[in-house]
């Protein structure tokens, strides 16, 4: 079963995403801030990470950079949850190695189909 790490500080949204992803057949782990997210990533080696942008302690962008800096995670797909009005910053996200982004408020169904698509692509030989 594919392992997905969801890093999001708002508990409601974290649980919502986790619920929907579990329903889609993924093994879901969660973390409530950027620092905890990076630590969890190191211990569970996820197949994909969903990162919220605005988080206390370490924001999503820095967390993405920290995860990418680790050789073991050079290839792990990252999806960033951003807010409207931050689209111009998304370019920065791509520059630190984010694979995709979804603007809040988002449809959980849409998130799951993006995750499916990225993991399907990741299975193909690069």
């Amino acid at each position: 079963m594919k392992k997905i790490l969801v890093v999001e500080d708002a508990e409601d949204i974290r649980e919502l995403v986790a619920f929907k992803l579990r329903g889609a057949g993924y093994d879901v782990y969660t973390a409530a801030d950027g620092e905890a997210g990076v630590a969890t990533a190191r211990s569970i080696h996820p197949d994909l990470v969903v990162l919220d942008w605005m988080m206390p302690r370490m924001n999503g962008l820095d967390a993405a950079a920290a995860i990418r800096a680790d050789e073991a995670f050079a290839e792990v797909p990252i999806i960033l949850l951003t807010a409207k009005g931050q689209e111009q910053d998304v370019q920065r996200g791509f520059s630190v190695g984010v694979d995709d982004y979804i603007v809040k408020p988002f449809s959980p169904r849409e998130l799951v189909s993006r995750v499916d698509a990225i993991l399907a692509r990741a299975r193909l030989p690069r």
Partner: protein, 458 residues
Amino acid sequence: MAGSDDVLFAAARNGEAETQEWTYVRKDGTRLPVVVTVSAMRADDDALRGYICIAHDLSAQRLAERRLALSNEAFRKAFDSAPVAVVLTKTDMTCAHANPAFCAMTGFDMRTLRTMSMLDLMVTADDDERESRVNEYEPLVEGHASAHHTECRVRRADGSSLWAMVHTSLVTDEDGEPVLWVSHLEDVTERKAFEAASRESYARKAEALERLAEIDRTKSEFVSMVSHELRTPVTSILGYLELLADGDFGELGPRQRDALLVVQQGASRLEYLIADLMTLRQFESGTPLPRFEDKVDISQLVQRVTTTLVPVIARRHHSLALEIEDDAGVVCGNERQLEHVVSNLLTNALKFTPEGGQIVVRARKQEGEVVISVRDTGVGIPTEDLSKVFTRFYRGGSEEVAKVPGTGLGLSIVKGIVKHHGGHVSLESQVGAGTTVSVTLPRLELESVSAAPRRELS
């Protein structure tokens, strides 16, 4: 000369030289002033042998003296009748002379002025200021400047004071030593008062503007904070509503489904409002927005957006006419924002037109531009309100308008987006007859669309 020998030569006879001013008469009868020096000539035995008379012509000197007197007279008149206050000050700072205008300005008479030091006329805050003001005249004494101009407060006899512009120059002797200060004084009290009043009024206006700017900043921060804080709960609400509607928590009955639909619609409206506020904040923040370089085919875009609204148009029994040219043109910009513009114009037309109205959507090209327009047969906008419709939160004042849901943000966002794309919005309306809103955008030339690489588009 006859008959006065004794007088004339008396001194000479006594062995002295005699000098006297005489008047000579020329042969032609004209007279000339002379100074005559007479000395006795004596033989070895001291016997008087004769006199030597030397006469100097004085006419040139007399002329110079007369000219000097005239010049003095001219100066005295100019000095006394000048409307400008003039004062001559000796090097010990006592007053040598002051003209009537100076006496009138200061209220001191000439006699009193002669007893005073001119420094006592200067009103200063303290000794430091007095010293620095006196030092300002140093370059004149040193010969580095020909005149000194300064504004200074001057004491009057009655204890009051005035502001004077003082122009001073220095008269020196042949060795360059100072002899006399010449100062002209101009009363500038009124001008100073006017300047002070202007400065004060400017300061007040600047303060008021700063206060307004502060209010505007606070408002922007508030809008930003509120929309940010609302986003998280709205994300939760919409997300969980979707789970409920998708049956993730079990199948719903028909009444539950209806209720859910109402909640979903409300939550969506909230989401749109937040999105609108965020878009506006972006336009207002002044931070440069990224340049989008989508090549947007306007004909396709207008067609697409209109199609999505066809069900609403049918529900309200409007008739729809599409007058879209096949190749209205391509615009360089952000496709999502341009969709927002068209959908906003159409939604407005639908909302403000009573059932059974007519909506005309047009897209056409004109010289270098693309024009998108939406015409309705709706309630219209009163002429006096036309200028306000682009203002945020403006909504028409009539009862009919109040019944229509909306935030009053739509057109200000449309304007923001269109402006960002280098275009403009215009509006024509008549109460009871309808409204036409037109958006004009710069068109990309077809050659560059097909042939030019992207970098030439920006």
